[in-house]
């Protein structure tokens, strides 16, 4: 009986969570000519057409922005993952003086909200002259302290004996990292990839700041945010909705593919 109550309550919550997004989906499927009845909540698309999606794909700069966003997300995730693996490994498994000090200082910076550093980073990026290119979006954040500690936490559970025996066999540090430690840490690395990929894909604030410095690098989030195709009041709304759905689909796909790694391990419990 209690089981049933649990399932019912959870289903209701899930339903309420989903409803606004469903309405968005309905909105995106309306026929462009529809002038909505102002007293009726549409739970089913009127005219049911994909025309709005076609319109959204034709937004000027859509494909460039798509390319930029993919490049941004993939390259950022790649570089920051590489750094997180190296630093996580060194901080978890190597013994050297100054390690504790270094870890503590790194931990301290987790308390500094990134937004506080937005202004100096903005000036730094401008002075480096990379604010006009996509590297201005990628490079500032590649040392991801949160990610480093996520990875380190997991790697510190790898038994030291494995690494010692590898050393006896003549592995250098790089081979130890990439042949032994990385395969053993796969779950946490997948978690890291999803979290980072999704948050990079969704990022709008830093690209917006970069644009205020004169950069012309568009990302999907930005063009959809600024997007008003001027088709008339209602049609605009439908096409915008379609655009919003479009830029969410890749995230949902990534999530569906990887969620089993992500939720199965209690990876996030190591977050503190």
């Amino acid at each position: 009986m209690f089981q049933v109550i649990c399932i019912v309550v959870l289903s209701i919550i899930a339903f309420c969570q989903m409803l606004p997004f469903y309405l968005k989906l309905v909105d995106s499927l309306h026929s462009p000519d529809l002038i909505p009845d102002s007293d009726k909540l549409y739970l089913w698309p009127e005219g049911g057409t994909l025309q709005n999606y076609m319109m959204a794909l034709k937004v000027s700069g859509f494909w460039t922005a798509l390319g930029n966003t993919i490049f941004h997300s993939v390259v950022f995730t790649g570089i920051s993952l590489f750094i997180a693996i190296i630093m996580g490994y060194v901080l978890a498994k190597m013994r050297f003086r100054g390690k504790k000090f270094l870890s503590n200082i790194l931990l301290c910076t987790m308390m500094v909200p990134g937004e506080v550093l937005m202004i100096p980073n903005y000036i730094l990026v401008m002075n480096m002259g990379i604010n006009y290119s996509i590297w201005g979006l990628i490079l500032p954040g590649i040392v991801n302290v949160f990610g480093i500690f996520l990875v380190r936490q997991y790697m510190s559970n790898i038994p030291q004996s494995v690494l010692e025996s590898a050393e006896v066999d003549g592995c250098n540090e790089f081979r130890k990292i990439f042949n032994i430690v990385v395969p053993m840490s796969k779950p946490i690395l997948v978690t890291y990839i999803i979290l980072t990929f999704v948050s990079t894909w969704n990022e709008y604030l830093w690209p917006m700041v970069m644009q205020s410095s004169g950069s012309t690098v568009e990302t999907l989030q930005l063009i959809m945010y600024k997007f008003y195709p001027a088709l008339g009041n209602y049609a605009d709304g439908y096409v915008r909705s379609a655009g919003m759905i479009l830029i969410t689909i890749p995230i949902i796909i990534v999530y569906i593919i990887f969620q089993k790694y992500f939720l199965e391990q209690n990876n996030l419990s190591g977050m503190k």
Binding site: V9, L10, L41, N121, N202, L268
Partner: protein, 315 residues
């Protein structure tokens, strides 16, 4: 380093002594340097800027930067001619948001995590189902908020209102309701990461404890409050801290939905506008520093709380 280069036989142990350091730091070198540039240097730059009148224009023209305490005077001295009431108003709004979200997200997160942990099967399915909204971007989320709280009669919020016999409301363009409209959805549905953390600490609670307790009482609620809750105390403290930090940094909904109008300007949005709309970097840095100090105080309180309490660590 010198020890490495001196080929004296006696220094052989020393050579061994520093080999680890050399190896470690050569791996760490680049990331640490990069991090120093974009965190440490940036942090102290921001701190220095907060005592100057540096602006976007003075950076562009290279004009002289003056040392000044005005930025802080603007915030702290009530009688100062340029006292900045707007900052404290925005802080009030930020605190309102933070308190509401801390309560809502933690209660909902705990509730969902508890219900899921009670299921015999399908735990993963419900976790996945309830977690996905946190993947939706701020831009999309804000657009959904606009749709739900649209001013037309046929928006979801107004339809519900009319169903209960209330007049429809211009949600997002009214000082009374704009903040409410922004908070309703995050209040109920912003619990995703909190739920995950609660869930992983709930399933780590040893079964024997609950079984022992169930001999004494039949009430699940009592077992939960007396046994489980104290055991997951660390998760509660962590989640509260995360809510508070995230709350103070809130920017997205205000910037994207109402653009800070109708009494919804949060501190972070005010800082953003000061810096990138008005170009007053020095002032924005001072504002950010004050915000940082507030967040820091809460972080330190959390550290104190989570170490001082003598609870059996469930993890």
């Amino acid at each position: 380093m010198n020890q490495l280069e001196t080929p004296v036989i006696r220094s052989a142990p020393k050579k061994m002594k520093y080999r680890d350091e050399l190896k470690a730091y050569s791996l760490l070198g680049f990331p640490i340097a990069w991090w120093t540039l974009f965190f440490v240097v940036a942090f102290f730059t921001a701190l220095t800027f907060s005592f100057t009148n540096v602006s976007l224009r003075s950076l562009a023209t290279g004009s002289k930067i003056k040392f000044t305490l005005d930025n802080y005077k603007n915030l702290l001295a009530v009688n100062w001619k340029d006292f900045d009431q707007r900052y404290w108003d925005s802080l009030g709004i930020t605190i309102l948001w933070t308190v509401v979200m801390s309560i809502g997200n933690n209660l909902m997160g705990l509730l969902c995590a508890f219900l899921i942990s009670q299921l015999k099967r399908g735990n993963r399915f419900f976790l996945a189902l309830l977690f996905w909204p946190s993947l939706v971007s701020g831009v999309v989320g804000s657009d959904v908020t606009k749709l739900v709280f649209g001013s037309d009669n046929n928006s979801l919020a107004n339809t519900l209102l009319r169903f209960f016999g209330h007049e429809p409301i211009q949600w997002l363009t009214d000082d009374q309701t704009a903040m409410l409209a922004l908070m309703i959805m995050p209040f109920f549905f912003g619990f995703c990461t909190k739920m995950l953390i609660y869930y992983s600490s709930l399933i780590a609670v040893p079964k024997d404890y609950k079984e022992a307790a169930s001999l004494d009482t039949d009430s699940r609620f009592k077992i939960f409050t007396k046994i489980t809750l104290p055991l997951i105390q660390n998760a509660v403290v962590l989640n509260l801290l995360l809510s508070i930090i995230d709350g103070f940094k809130i920017l997205g909904p205000m910037q994207l939905v109402t653009k800070g109008g109708y009494g919804t300007e949060s501190t972070m949005l005010y800082i953003y506008n000061t810096a990138f709309e008005d170009g007053k970097f020095g002032r924005a840095c001072a504002y950010a520093t004050v915000l940082f100090v507030i967040i820091l105080v809460f972080t330190l309180i959390q550290q104190k709380l989570s170490t001082s309490k003598e609870v059996e660590d469930v993890e």
